[in-house]
Subunit: 198 residues, 4 copies
Amino acid sequence: MLNKNKKENLIISSALKMFSKNGFYNTKVADVAKSIGMSVGNFYNYFPSKNSLAKSSIVFVSKKLAMKLKYINEQEISSKQKINLFVKSYLVFLTKHPEMINYFFKVYLGNRELFCENEDCGFEFAKEFVDELKKMIDNGIEKKEFVNQDFFICFSCIAGILGGITFLNSENVLDKDLEFYVDSLSISIYKSISYPCE
Amino acid sequence: MLNKNKKENLIISSALKMFSKNGFYNTKVADVAKSIGMSVGNFYNYFPSKNSLAKSSIVFVSKKLAMKLKYINEQEISSKQKINLFVKSYLVFLTKHPEMINYFFKVYLGNRELFCENEDCGFEFAKEFVDELKKMIDNGIEKKEFVNQDFFICFSCIAGILGGITFLNSENVLDKDLEFYVDSLSISIYKSISYPCE
Amino acid sequence: MLNKNKKENLIISSALKMFSKNGFYNTKVADVAKSIGMSVGNFYNYFPSKNSLAKSSIVFVSKKLAMKLKYINEQEISSKQKINLFVKSYLVFLTKHPEMINYFFKVYLGNRELFCENEDCGFEFAKEFVDELKKMIDNGIEKKEFVNQDFFICFSCIAGILGGITFLNSENVLDKDLEFYVDSLSISIYKSISYPCE
Amino acid sequence: MLNKNKKENLIISSALKMFSKNGFYNTKVADVAKSIGMSVGNFYNYFPSKNSLAKSSIVFVSKKLAMKLKYINEQEISSKQKINLFVKSYLVFLTKHPEMINYFFKVYLGNRELFCENEDCGFEFAKEFVDELKKMIDNGIEKKEFVNQDFFICFSCIAGILGGITFLNSENVLDKDLEFYVDSLSISIYKSISYPCE
DNA sequence: CATGAATGAGTGTTCATTCAT
DNA sequence: GATGAATGAACACTCATTCAT
């Protein structure tokens, strides 16, 4: 028998697909349960509420992304190369697990009320990923590879541009495979935050 | 007495605030109606359904944004200047009407199921804005001010970076006024899509 | 059309019957609604919750009983006669509206958790009746018709003995009509709280 | 290891506390099981259902009370003294085991649907206690110490008055210790069923 | 146009009970 | 006997929408 943690992940994996496809509110607890052959009642042995599943799900995704970024951050390469590796890693992941990325951009960013009780909750559930991204940015600034500017500008450039391509992809408007965009995207991102005419 | 169209806009204005603050699903038709002193029944004289209000709302926002961009596009200035004007215009608008921008980024992009019946609906309800943005991009490429690359890359850079700052702003994590970011953001956006070392 | 208050009373009347017969927990909101030809949703236009219906119901009963007792209290007769009138009035009421009395003794006294949030809520929802009973007792003590003793003793004698016969009646163990017990019950009650050998 | 019967009593003891405090319907089988460090599944090795636990519990209480009354009944003393002893014994028991008395008056009398399948089930589960009380009453009447009246009147007087003080006690409205009320209560009860001017 | 009472399908959650281990 | 994961029917409450007035 699967242990508790394994089963939780099984639920999350299925929920991510359903939430990202049909939205949190149009996905019923019964749907999630049934999708993995589990009874409704038993679902509640693993998550105390539908909402807590949403929260655990974003933590799950955030950790996955953080791991990939951490692996890149730990290498002794230039920031430019790091960005290239990250974009590639991100797009491969998006191809393989669109539900995770889409969950992040659609459900997490689009339905803040699910994740925030008070006004200023920030991105606490995506902390792990955001922190790792911060590391990359800080390191790039430190090494003078990135313009020494407001952190939030950098953050918007990296996360924003990737978010942009993600939305276009999820709406099926892109005419090429994601892989195709790796280089041009990394260059764009790099240009946006680095000094012109290096 | 207000004519039908005026009243529709009144409803939309109030709905935008509520939808963007609490989400579409947590805003009840009764709440919207009450917020402008209207009865529930009467609401349905102006919109056939809650969902149609959501659609009209995004068209409303898209038109507003398109107008601003159109005004900029019509000027005889460099693309670089256009981007600067657009960023400024955008951030001023975001300051004045966060509900509109947030509605666009959160409700519209985050709850696609509300606006898409089939799989490939694209951004039909934001068409006016997207088209105008396309004009700016195409013009910049034509004039060799932007790298002649895939349109979607450019789109992701412009809309993505602005989206990034928008999310940071709506989560109250920015420590300065939006105005502060105008120049650095426009430079970043411009750098991302233009040739290096101009 | 019935006004709001009339409809509330209609709901309460029906709920009293169902609650007292099958218990609060075995009576579904849908049952109550259906019993008076009302939809479930509409029920909630009159009461915010099932629990609030239970509370309103006991207030309703308490008021009815208080009224009867008040009418008796206002007469210029001896306490002995008051008790006789009250017992008669009570038993007639019990015959005519067993659901009200049974609701009081079974649901209200038997399911305190429904009516008490904190530990010491006392009998706040039956206040009107209890207050009127207190008046009768205080008056009898003042006029030296009742032994000058602890109020709670008197209260237990009056309410307790009536409660006793009420339970026997609701269990269908009594072999005679309630009317039959009027005199012996009033004498017993009177004896229990008055001086022996008057 | 405890034998089956001992464990049943252990369950009952804990259940009495929880049922009397929070009500039958707000006490979950899992709560009862956990309260004595037992698994849910194992609970069902001792009681076939939650409802049967409720029934066994009232029999348990009824037997305890019957025993005390039996001991008193067997003494060669006047009915007046018996009543005094019974009241004392009752109040001491109530002080020591409020859960048992409260279970009787609240859960058993207040939720008849739990104990009665048909309409006329009487007090079958409290038979032992009721029978013993009947013995005391019959004996008093026989010895002309009590008025020769309807049995149910006597029953209501004794059980009702004790029930009255019990409710007041369980609602924490009494300002003195229960012991304080022993004499006045026994006198009141005795007066209520005996001839005036003995 | 305007009202708001009425509808009723729908949903998150609970919990007594079962049963494989 | 003992465990606790699994079941699934049940229920309070919601809310978009309708419609009589």
